[in-house]
Amino acid sequence: MVREPASPSRTSGITGFGRETAEDLAFHGFQARFLEEGIRALARAGDVGPDYTSFTIDVRSTVIARAMYRAADGSGDLCYPGGHAPGPSLAFGATPLEFLRHLACKGTSAGGAREGGLSWTDTRRGLIGWAGACGLMSQVLAGAALAFRQRKHSRAALAFEGSRALDAGGWHEGMNLAGALRAPLIVVLDVATAAAAECAPSIGAVAEGYGFAYAELGQDPFDALVREVAAARRRAVDGAGPTLLALGPRSDSEPWALHERFLESASAEWGLAGPELAAIERAARAGVDHAVARLVKEPSPDPSDALAPVHTDHEPFPPWTRREPRSPGPVEPQPGSAHVH
């Protein structure tokens, strides 16, 4: 299905798909599925925003992200997890509780609860979250990929974007730059949902224009996804150029059909028996249940703490604007705080 095939001589053991991979993907599929349920339940209970009552995770993003993560032996690659963020984030090593804390803006979350929702960023973990404008993130990931190439690291960057990213000029600038500089980048476009005024061009032609290899992924089984991603990653780190993957529609009525199909085949092809799968399912459910239960008990942030490291240069609360002026004691520098002058 690849339109512009990779240099065919390049294949490697990393793409190997065996029993261990199957277990891993079965687990991450369950985890995404239960996390989706958990997030919806939290939304109904008012513990996260009401928009999340119909929140979905596309299991293919989870599988693609996990394939990246595994191909890099669990370290080094970078992922912008896009609109189905919880799946890819967990695939990159986050725990359900960590992700939910962030989603719910708990005081214990990454980023001190300053920014929440689906946009968790933790570069040490290889996660870069969403920041506002459609189409922007491919630029950022292209630059990160460029950094890998400059430093001669065998690393690659993966970005999930909605299909209307194509509308945005900024996306084209990012693609053009990545193609021209052969940045080790893989962009996954979710073309599952159409919009009122979607951009016209054939995505394949756009990819070709910018020097990206291109493939369309439909209802492909997990192992095909994994192989496609591993091949794209290899091209990327070998300096053979970036890849654009288009994720076609999935069934709204059966959103987890691909995972179901995978589980069915898992026993036949990789010898994963029913009880083993049941154990994996229980483990995934237990992890998510624990996280959801814990979450609601966690503390909210303390504003003067959480916002202290991001003030600009002057005292934000002159005595005449707050009832209780803050104590004038020095603010401890916080980890990650770069605001010194």
Binding site: G117, A196, P301, H311, R322
Partner: protein
Amino acid sequence: MSTDLPAHVSRTRTGQPVTLLEAISEALWEEMERDERVFLMGEDIGAYGGAFKVTRGFLDHFGPDRVIDTPISEGGFTGAAAGAAHMGLRPVVEMQFMDFISPAYDVLTNYIATSLYRGAGPMPLVVRGPVGGGNRGGPFHSQNVEMAFFHTPGLKIVYPSNPRDAKGLLKSAIRDDNPVIFEEHKGLYRAPHCREVLGHEDYVVPLGSARTALEGDDLTVVTYGLMVHRSLEAAAELARDGIRIEVIDLRTLLPLDEDAIAASVQRTGKLLIVHEDTRTGGIAGEIAIRMNERAFEWLDGPILRVTAIDSPVPFSGELEDYFLPSVEDIATAARYLVNY
């Protein structure tokens, strides 16, 4: 024809009170009926009726040539609106959230704002959309955008605080031959306490003229948008202690009605500026220096300000509440100045 009007544009015709959002819908509808050169562009404004449903029903009535669903390309369609304005049309561009005006910053400041200057003639174009915090929208769906444009000669900036002004100011903006940025606070869109019955007549509120929302002699509070309401709440609290503050609602930020501010300051001798937008580089600075130029001899205390703190708008509710200026912040600052 009025029988098949969408509900949210026919409330005034049937004598009912309107919200700020409905006032804006009515202004758009009436201007489109009045002047066939007026047309709309924006993301999901057609079939979907807009993210906040301001243009619900417009596509059916006015057709796809005048209600244009655009790709997600704020720079591109704002630039296109400029081209249409060159040709005599009067585009009204919706930003789904005003935060997303940023990709259009280049075309707005360099191309559109300079049109008259460059001899390219009038540029009758309105960019409107929802702004402001308090809705747990986080840093990218909660910003106030006035200071991105306040420094650019050639633009006008409007920021209404109530339905009556919103309707009259939007009509003025659409009829103005200069480009106008029009900010609509989400916290006022459907606020029940500021619904009001509007007159049936086709009125306008002129751009560049402030309104005295409350008269008082002890202190001038200059503000706009949602903060007018917060300031009036603070005024009510202060009134219980016999402190009478004057509240001026700017309505238009550019041009700034410095005459109105100066006249008030020359009477009260004290000035407090309140804005929801963040502190450093906010509009309070310009007002302060203009009053130094115009009213220094009348000042009996420093010009002070109550604003959001210098930070992106926090996502967490606790942090956002802490970040935003509150009624008590205003009252505290007012007391400080009155006792100065």
